[in-house]
Amino acid sequence: MRALYFLAALLLAATLATTSEPIGAQQSATEAGSTARFTLDDPIVSRREYELAQNLRCLVCQNESIAKSNAPLAVELREVLREQVAAGRSNEEIIAFMTARYGDFVLFRPPLRASTAVLWFGPFALLAVGAFIAFRVLRTRRALAAQEPLTEAERARAAELLRSGESAK
């Protein structure tokens, strides 16, 4: 029963955690000064705008998106973003605008290129190597296990050796 309550609480927390961001984005009026994100004097225009901003890196505080950062550059870039969304530019056009100025670094999701191939496929290559090693090890072990069982005489000899080892203590 306790486990069930716990599970329910966990689920609730998870839903809150996933939904609270966009809501927080609209209701953060009271904390406008202290926190970043989209605030009252920085009104949100659309969900698309927010999603775009979330995938763009703020270059000042490099591990924050421009949706969350409070840096002046992020505020400015949000404004640019808003203007472009309002002007009806497509996501691709807006992203091209950003990467033309700040490079691929501005994207949290690196595009697939020759220079990023290791990043995209490296983990799979490592997984393949690991699987190969695991396969080899398991096969050797299975081969060992499949060997002939001990004969009666060998068993007796083993027991005798174990006994003599014990008495030596």
Binding site: V60, R101, Y102
Partner: protein
Amino acid sequence: MKRVAPFLIPLALFFVLAAFLLRGLWLNPREVPSPLIGKPAPLFTLPALHDKKPFSSKDLLGQVWIMNVWASWCAPCRLEHPLFNDLAAQKLVPIVGLNYKDAPEAARRWLAELGDPYLVSVIDNDGRAGIDFGVYGVPETFVIDRHGVIRHKHIGPVTPEAMRERIIPLVRELQAKP
């Protein structure tokens, strides 16, 4: 051979990893390579700091020039400023200041106090020209060739070494080209 291999593999992997991490110690994550190098510099027409008259970067086509992004609120700008004063005294190359998100009053005071090495400083009040140049921190310095193409970007305060070994030789090299 076959007996030593198993423990040598993790050891070799360790050294490979250590080599990468060691290399990482000498890289600066704040220096983001600019995609604008080798591309035409964005054109701007902005009011000049001293008389508010519009100044267009088009006027500089045909000569090599340096653009220095600065602000009076920027502490590292103070650090590099004497180097630009020296460079201006050499009369080697025009330096244009992009006064980034600054109060013009404070900016003028700053120049009066520390010296004005700039041919002109233009006011980038909202930082839009800065965004076009991919500026994400102040100071930043660009070297632009006769054809208006960005040839070099220095992020952060220019050091005496960077000025002596990179910027000045590059300016001379670009000036020698048609």
